[in-house]
Symmetry: C2
Subunit: 321 residues, 2 copies
């Protein structure tokens, strides 16, 4: 599945490319970039995740008929909060609901939730309630519910740090376990890769970005984290790319699907290198049609042995992969 | 393209798997293993390279109609020779010729040549004459000629050594340059990857086999070697896998095709992990159908932007990729 529901992160990337600030990138420009991505890459996808703010009205006509439509429910970004003021609270889009998404033809809705399973009780309760509310609305509407879980550093000193790399497996695994509880009504989890390959001994020479790092674990341990994540996820799960390079994402897809993931829902790993070409839309489209399509084709090939979701143990009576 | 013309190396692998010696692996067993590989993987290939000793008679009926047939011309292995007794001389198969390959329906013939461009004059002359002879026969028969070039360590202390990794780019590039000369009549070069990724800084942490090594060069230098190889090869070229793991081969395919390679002709990187399952042919076939097919699909996806051979500068009047 292809994600193009990015809002602030896409606008920031376009601003950098154009040598200006995000507030100078118009909504029209953002829409044009999204449309170029959907037009060129949606034919590779089984479903496309679009935001209802900038993406839906302009892009839905570019979706091939057989490609499913996923619509986002959350407002872009987060509100800082909690005792530390470093915790993140997710907000729903205003004037928008599961029912509206359904009326617009969504095949599923998606909610991105920032979550630290070791965060403050107050923040966890708020975030968990938000999921339960959306889950309830989805059950009422008989709408499939895809929940995206994203952890973030609190005291670890940045997302690209040894401490955060060490913490990541537990964060991803414990969060998946929490939101697999039937009370939340989630149908599919969209999960982070449960480790940082850049901080993995075998790749720490800079395999993905040329920057050498220390070793937080070995590749065999990462394979174990993936299997633990698959055990923790009581429902089908797919992995997200979180903007890593395509080379790193392909290894993540290999390891995640080998452990039981049902595929990927990915945006930036596939199309992000088109953004620095902005504002040259012709160059962007050429890149998307060639290298972007190549990235998607490789990711799909790497997911070739992914677990078909009807074979997930959540639906099977007995035998398991 | 798929290679299954291995003879001694396949027999040795089967012997190890069965806990016996190579002389205890019968020709029939070797043929059964080859047939399992062709049956399961040929449908993924544009052409299959088979040896005429064990492979052809048994496997040709398993080739799907649209899949091309390549037949080997050389005897397995080599004769040690030269002043150092460490040089390698290639021998042609006895009672076998380009004309016979043609009568059996070959779409092309393949010759594996051991070659050190810095070897003794005597050995180079012998090896070069062999290629010219086969090339002459191919021109006479209007038979496409695929030449596989394989270098080997002389004084560098083993194939998996820093010294040999450092020497490899020059060996591969200079050999490709030599046999691109029209006098040899070669149509396609099957080349080694022009560096050892395991000895490349970014991957030297053990990315492909878990074993840490020193750094012979950086990934950007390897990309330069690939471009230099593409310049040296005056005719279309594909890369071979030399038995590296599939993960390493996928990176090689990425880098080689980005530099101008027209694809791959690969055997072991795709199917070698089936061999330890011998003598359980059912398990071997199951592995080949699932993981083997997955490996082939990934390799093909990685070669998705390979240069179509008719677009090679050898055939084009002007503009080049």
């Amino acid at each position: 599945m292809l994600a193009i529901d990015q809002r602030d992160s896409l606008r920031n990337g376009m601003a950098t490319a154009a040598g200006t600030t995000a507030d100078r990138i118009s909504d029209e420009a953002l829409i044009k970039a999204k449309r170029a991505i959907v037009k060129t890459l949606a034919p590779y996808a089984s479903a496309v995740l679009i935001d209802p703010v900038y993406g839906y009205p302009q892009c839905v006509t570019d979706l091939p008929p057989r490609v499913g439509l996923l619509l986002s429910q959350e407002e872009t970004g987060y509100v800082a909060g909690g005792a530390s003021e470093k915790e993140r609270r997710t907000r729903l889009l205003e004037n928008w609901s599961v029912e509206q998404a359904q009326r617009l033809g969504a095949d599923a809705v998606k909610l991105l939730l920032y979550y630290r399973p070791d965060g403050s009780v107050e923040m966890r309760r708020q975030q968990e309630k938000l999921v339960a509310d959306v889950g309830h609305a989805c059950v009422q509407a008989e709408m499939p519910f895809l929940l995206e879980l994203v952890a973030y550093p609190l005291t670890e000193g940045g997302a690209d740090s040894l401490a955060y790399a060490q913490k990541k497996p537990a964060l991803v695994i414990r969060s998946a376990e929490e939101f697999s509880k039937p009370v939340y009504g989630v149908d599919i989890l969209k999960l982070e890769f449960p480790a940082d390959l850049k901080w993995t001994a075998e790749y720490a020479g800079g395999a993905f970005d040329g920057k050498p790092r220390q070793s937080a674990y070995r590749a065999t341990e990462v394979e174990t984290f993936c299997r633990q994540l698959n055990q923790a996820a009581g429902i089908p799960w797919v992995i997200l790319s979180a903007g890593v390079n395509i080379e790193e994402f392909l290894v993540q897809v290999d390891m995640a699907t080998a452990a039981g993931a049902s595929g990927f829902l990915c945006g930036r790993a596939i199309w992000k290198d088109a953004i620095p070409l902005y504002p040259d839309l012709v160059k962007m489209e050429t890149w998307l049609r060639t290298q972007g399509g190549h990235n998607f084709a490789r990711a799909k090939a790497h997911a070739g042995l992914a677990l078909p979701w009807p074979q997930h143990r959540a639906f099977a009576g007995d035998s398991q992969p």
